[in-house]
């Protein structure tokens, strides 16, 4: 019975035309490869003459994952890396955001300061830290020696756990600003009358923080944690520039391992299997993000 009038029909038709190009591009560069990657992970891919040969390999690539120590170590290190990074970034970012939300820190200048590490090209960031960590001439060694904290130069990127932690420091430095901006935006969305009301009710600074600030930025917090976890799992450029996985593969994380297996060792099916594990981890995090963002029950329109 319902007829759609000319205008609304045109709107609908225009809508289809308008989403078509984006959908087309995303199908090609996202949907197809995601599907293909799943297929690849069940194949053994070999170089045959000029081209590639594909042969069904069952779950062998995944079985390989379980068998190989390097994968297990990389998985463990990735989890370690992600946990440390997320915790550090969130804590530091919250501190920065609180300071910048204080009347003393409201100046626009501080926000510009935050944008600098964020906008910096990641490779430039890596090069910058490579220079800072330089064993012979790096400012880190020179400063620590100047302060008398160390006697011998430390080869920051030369020892297994130390190297990974130094990469973490460089990554955290670059990641804090964006999360701080997110939390700051969350803080500023808390209406100021809530604080006024709390003060009238006699709440002290700590009580205000616990009962107003923290609940007010809960969603922002969840989103920050998820986004930061995803970014931490993807880390690549820092490893590539700073250590290339050395020493003794101690800085090989999942993303880097998958890349190396695929594009250096040319074990494409195995690389794809690692990629899919990473994908599964991130998908779980993505679901959390979507849940956090999902709007409350929409209200009926009318009036």
């Amino acid at each position: 019975m319902q007829t759609t009038n000319e205008y609304n029909r045109k709107r609908y038709r225009l809508g289809l035309w308008f989403v078509a190009p984006a959908v087309f591009v995303l199908l090609i560069v996202l949907a197809y490869p995601i599907f293909a990657s799943l297929v690849l992970s069940f194949l053994r891919v070999r170089f045959a003459g000029q081209g590639l040969s594909f042969e069904f390999n069952g779950l062998n690539n995944y079985a390989d994952l379980l068998r190989k120590d390097l994968f297990r170590e990389a998985l463990f290190r990735s989890v370690y890396y992600t946990v440390i990074e997320v915790v550090s970034v969130i804590v530091l970012a919250l501190l920065v955001a609180l300071m910048l939300n204080h009347p003393l820190g409201r100046s626009a200048f501080y926000r510009v300061v935050l944008l600098v590490p964020w906008a910096l090209a990641p490779v430039a960031n890596a090069v910058l830290w490579k220079w800072i960590y330089n064993a012979n001439y790096g400012i880190l060694n020179q400063a620590l020696r100047g302060l008398g904290a160390i006697e011998e130069n430390i080869i920051w990127l030369g020892k297994p756990w130390l190297a990974l932690n130094m990469i973490l420091v460089a990554d955290i430095w670059k990641a804090v600003p964006f999360i701080a901006l997110l939390i700051l935006a969350g803080l500023q969305n808390i209406p100021s009358y809530l604080y006024k009301a709390a003060r009238l009710d006699g709440a002290n600074a700590w009580q205000q923080f616990v009962h107003i600030t923290l609940p007010g930025i809960k969603t922002t917090f969840v989103i920050s944690i998820v986004l930061q976890s995803i970014w931490a799992l993807k880390v690549f450029d820092l490893i590539y520039v700073l250590t290339k996985g050395s020493p003794a593969d101690s800085t090989v994380l999942l993303n880097y391992l998958s890349w190396r297996e695929t594009f250096s060792n040319l074990d494409i099916g195995y690389g794809a299997a690692i990629a899919n594990v990473l994908f599964a981890l991130m998908l779980m995090l993505a679901l959390v993000y979507i849940r956090a963002l999902r709007p409350r029950q929409p209200q009926a329109q009318g009036g």
Binding site: T4, N5, Y7, N8, K10, A300, Q301, G302, G303
Partner: protein, 354 residues
Amino acid sequence: MATLELININKKFGDFTAVNDINLRVEEGEFVTLLGPSGCGKSTLLNMTAGLEDVTSGEIHINGEKVNHLGPFERDVAMVFQNYALYPHMTVEENIGFSLRLRKRPKNEIQDKVRKVAEMLELDKFMHRLPRELSGGQQQRVAIGRAVIREPSIFLFDEPFSNLDAALRLKTRGEIKELHQRLGVTSIFVTHDQEEALSLSDRIAVLRLGQLEQFGTPEDVYSRPASKYVARFIGTPQMDIFAGSFVNADGLHFQIGEAGIPLPVSFKIPDTAVDVGIRAEFVTLGSKGFDSAIRLVQPVGPFTYVTVDWQGGCVTARVNGVSHMKPKETIKVEIDPEGLLFFDRITEKRMDLQ
């Protein structure tokens, strides 16, 4: 100029029924107001008339022709929106002339027409200003100008005064009424302000929860409301309603608590329970009637509304000029039987008994 007919119009948003089986016929040149509180479906009805929203079922006829399938422009309607909806990046001149430019009319024709409309609305001095450089009243006039230049067969107004302050609202109200008198274009006006509706309309459609409660002249809806709902929605102060019963002793009376209001002999006594509504202008405070305590004194300029405790409820009287009565004082209350409105207690419909 055109007639507009809404036939069995329904609109559902999912499970929610916004408009429920509405029938309405607007005559040529008539000014009709859709009146009701927010959520009553009046704006949805207007949007469906405009062609901005589709009806779920029912037919819309303009000039006797079904227009359900037509878009807003083909229906030849023009609309003035709640927040003016002026194009912020266009000057006054461009805003008013936008519809003509879309139709690719010759430049000088557009210019002439825009100038004429702007002069009529006293906007000719602001032609090259952007909307944000205008006052609220001026923006409102640009919005009207944009509608007028179209020379549409129907004007639609969607609560156009809601963003204006009280003084400007009155002024613009007058301007719209004058405009209608001058152009005589069929107009549909949506508002939740009953005073606006009473002062502007030839006829008023009172809506409640998506249903048409009453469709009549301002006098009809004020003096002969179809239901308790309409009676309470229209008129300031709100009508007071009491339960009571008919008593035939010493002549026919309507008994509210201890007060008996005499009724004429010709009165038809119904066989259902009734409530009675009393408007403030039919309540007299003075030396006759029942002793009552004054509760509230609200001067509004030409009148003072005095609310008194009366028969277990409250009744408000309209007193001319400034009253010097004080709360807690005692005064006698008399009700004019001519002004009583009787409602069926169950169906809440008004009953014609006098």
